[in-house]
């Protein structure tokens, strides 16, 4: 009998369909790998199973019983536990306190039995294969050790369904081996394990079955011994996307940005070399955690480089602050619009002028008429839908907030524009418009670096595609060479 049966699950976020009727079955005593590109719907499916998100439709059956109202508490009661790539432990508490908090029940004023707590923690850690003293503070543990503590918690909760999300992303081979032993032990006790990973060779070792998601749909569920790696990659990529991109060929000018041997230990990137020319759009592809955003932050001076050099405007340097990057006419549109892109509480006009206050002020005094006309110019040019340039930016839609962020950078007349996931989480109409704007900017001679997790967007918009893997460049493909298969193979480190 199936331990867990998710049937025809759908879920959409702000008009974006993340899951389109996904069905997924987990049996007792199996390790079931869940594969898919970034944005294929893996995380959303996991969130629905753990009760972190409510499905729009579809049913969830656990051990033969339909779950009517799912929630994180209900998931726990049903024996569902998840261990994420970033463990969710309390960093300033000890291991035993973390385990105790998760497992002990009773009123808040109950007396804590420290001996029992330590005994339980020690026993669970042993079963999870961890050699960790229960009295250690969590913040002193390494990432894999923290994952083992999470697994110990899951064992203690008698989890029958264990979800491991990228458990080996930051783990050494020896630790992977130990983790696999624990997984094997849990499997032989009859638990079902959902295993999410981008490392196909590991999946081949540990998984019994594999399900591939693509565009929010289940494209295949197979026995692991019936598929090989090439077929898995093909299943993940699927056929060519139908979307039409407004990309057009424009004359490519001289080099605008030249990066040589760039590395930054703090950002976890190393030995990166590439160049971008005027009029060119360079797409940067790679899996989550491959170092794409870190590269952008190093280029822009947020995490200054400690090796290599950046060539900008006939100058060779290591950008040491965003202000220095802006002086060199470099602009960076960050991935996290709400946190970094715009100041939500400020009016549209103030956001547009923020990186360029000198241009709208004289002797430190802001000329409101100049600022207003600058804002109106970009609101019209980028077709930003706002009641007025004095409206609070936070009140606009996501796509229009993104355009405000773009407008701020256009206002400094950049020569190099770095866009990090420029169309993530914006509606389809705004997405098209942002693509159109990118093409126009390239035609005017701007050099554009576009980081994207969407392969179709990378292929549709880029003149060349740089693929990152493990903090460095895995390869750079011309528009003619670039195919989904080649990009994914480089991103997975299989080239």
């Amino acid at each position: 009998m199936a331990l867990l049966d998710a049937t025809a699950i759908t879920k959409s976020f702000a008009g974006v369909q993340a899951l389109r009727g996904v069905s997924f079955e987990l049996r007792s005593g199996e390790v079931h790998a869940l594969l898919g590109e970034n944005g294929a719907g893996k995380s959303t499916l996991i969130k629905v199973i753990t009760g972190a998100e409510k499905a729009d439709s579809g049913t969830l059956t656990v051990a033969g019983h339909v779950v009517p109202h799912h929630s994180p508490a209900a998931a726990r009661a049903l024996g569902i536990a998840a261990v994420y790539q970033q463990p969710a432990l309390f960093p300033d508490l000890t291991v035993e306190e973390n385990v105790g908090l998760a497992l002990e029940s009773g009123p808040a004023w109950r007396r804590i039995d420290w001996h029992a707590r330590r005994r339980q923690a020690r026993e669970l850690l042993e079963r999870s294969g961890a050699e960790i003293a229960p009295e250690r503070t969590v913040s002193t543990l390494s990432m894999p050790e923290q994952q083992l503590v999470e697994i110990a918690k899951a064992i203690g909760a008698r989890a029958r369904i264990l979800i491991l999300d990228e458990p080996t992303a930051s783990v050494t081979d020896r630790e992977v081996e130990r983790l696999f032993r624990v997984i094997g032990a849990l499997r032989s006790e009859g638990a079902g394990i959902v295993y999410i990973s981008h490392r196909l060779d590991e999946v081949a070792v540990i998984a019994d079955r594999v399900t591939v998601l693509r565009d929010g749909q289940n494209v295949a569920t197979r026995d692991m011994r019936d598929v090989d790696r090439d077929e898995l990659v093909r299943l993940m990529v699927g056929r060519e996307m139908q979307a039409i991109y407004p990309k057009r060929e424009v004359p490519i000018g001289k080099t605008a940005l030249e990066v040589k041997g760039l590395g930054c230990r703090a950002a976890g990137i190393r030995d990166i070399t590439f160049e971008v020319r005027r009029g060119e759009i360079l797409g940067i592809a790679g899996l989550v955690g491959s170092g794409r955003t870190e590269l952008a932050e190093t280029l822009f001076g947020l995490t200054p480089a400690d090796e290599g050099a950046i060539g900008l405007q006939d100058d060779v340097m290591r950008t040491e602050s965003p202000a220095a990057a802006i002086r060199k006419k470099m602009a960076y549109l960050p991935e996290d619009r709400r946190q970094h892109g715009v100041v939500m509480e400020m009016p549209v006009a103030a956001n547009i002028s923020l990186a360029n206050l000198d241009a709208v002020s004289r002797n430190g005094l802001i000329d409101h008429a100049v600022e207003r006309s600058l804002a109106i110019r970009y609101v019209e040019r980028l077709r930003i839908k706002t009641p007025s340039v004095h409206a609070e930016t936070g009140a606009l839609s996501g796509g229009n907030q993104q355009k405000v962020a773009v407008a701020r950078w256009l206002a400094i007349n950049p020569e190099v524009l770095i866009l990090d996931e420029p169309t993530q989480g914006v509606d389809i109409g705004s997405k098209r418009e942002i693509h159109q704007i990118m093409v126009e900017l390239a035609a005017q001679g701007m050099a554009i670096v576009m980081i994207s997790s969407e392969l179709a967007e990378i292929l549709g918009m880029s003149d060349r595609v740089a693929v990152m893997h493990g903090g460095t460049m895995a390869g750079i493909l011309s528009r003619a060479e670039a195919t989904q298969e080649k990009i994914l193979a480089l991103a997975l480190g299989h080239a």
Binding site: Q339, H340, L354
Partner: protein, 278 residues
């Protein structure tokens, strides 16, 4: 309009409610003389509060302004006794305040200690340091002409009120019209976004602490010239919550009874505010 000015409206409602209670319990509160005294006595608080506005806009707090105020008051007197003309003594007090503000600002901005922790520490250190140095003695034998800058009381009251009003209007105008004001708002609303826009949020935080220190020195100088002698504990007990009772402030700041006020120059005590004291 209701939605937009939600915070302001709640403040106005609270003030009106207090006014209503006072109208019933202590109608003398609204007497013109009492109102004038209150306004005058609280001008220094207003000036300090202007600096605090900047600090709060950047998402920080400075609860050490009371101790800074006391030190700057004494400093004004000491400089005056050293022979500096009163306006120069006041300017020197501003410098002293700016210096103390720069210590707070540096610890908050670059050492990354939360401002409540930093200023709690400097509040206690400055307060007790002052008491240790002065042994509680007041600054006396001030030069003739120190009081009210040598002006008549009526005209100097006008000067005080005028200065405070000018500062308040100027601050409001500057926050709206100066690029620096925009930078303060951006830093407070979203330090991450500000940094990406090429602003140095740490420098901004440091600067607002310095400005607050300087304004505190200015306020202390203006307050000091109202007296013939300067108690060495003026303003102590005034923390971030400068509108409340000084005893509440002291408790909230974790102080002890050791700082009990003996000056008789209490200008913010509950009784005085109620118009029932003195």
């Amino acid at each position: 309009m209701l939605e937009r000015h939600r915070r302001e409206i709640s403040l106005v409602v609270a003030i009106l409610a207090i006014g209503a209670v006072l109208a019933v319990v202590a109608p003398g509160f609204f007497a013109f003389a009492n109102q004038r005294d209150l306004m005058l006595a609280n001008m220094p608080v207003l000036i300090v509060a202007l600096g605090m506005v900047l600090v709060i806009l950047t998402g920080q707090i400075d609860i050490s302004v009371g101790s800074q105020f006391a030190i700057c008051s004494v400093a004004t007197g000491v400089f005056a006794r050293m022979g500096l003309p009163t306006p120069l003594a006041g300017a020197a007090a501003c410098l002293v305040g700016a210096l103390m503000g720069s210590v707070n600002g540096a610890l908050v901005a670059w050492v990354r200690i939360p401002s409540i922790v930093v200023t709690l520490a400097t509040m206690v250190a400055l307060r007790d340091g002052l008491r240790w140095v002065t042994q509680g003695a007041w600054v006396q034998d001030l030069p003739p002409g120190f009081q009210w800058f040598g002006q008549s009381q009526a005209s100097s009251e006008l000067i005080t009120a005028g200065c405070a009003a000018a500062l308040a209007v100027g601050m409001n105008w500057g926050l709206r019209n100066l690029a620096a004001g925009r930078v303060v708002y951006a830093t407070g609303s979203s330090p991450n976004a500000a940094r990406l826009a090429g602003i140095n949020p740490r420098l901004v935080v440091f600067a607002v602490f310095v400005v607050t220190g300087a304004l505190t020195g200015f306020a202390a100088a203006f307050n000091a010239v109202r007296f013939l002698q300067i108690p060495s504990n003026l303003g102590i007990g005034r923390g971030g919550d400068s509108g409340g009772s000084r005893h509440d402030c002291r408790n909230a700041a974790g102080g002890t009874a050791a700082g009990r006020d003996r000056s008789g120059a209490d200008v913010s005590g509950v009784q005085r505010v109620l118009g029932a004291g003195d």
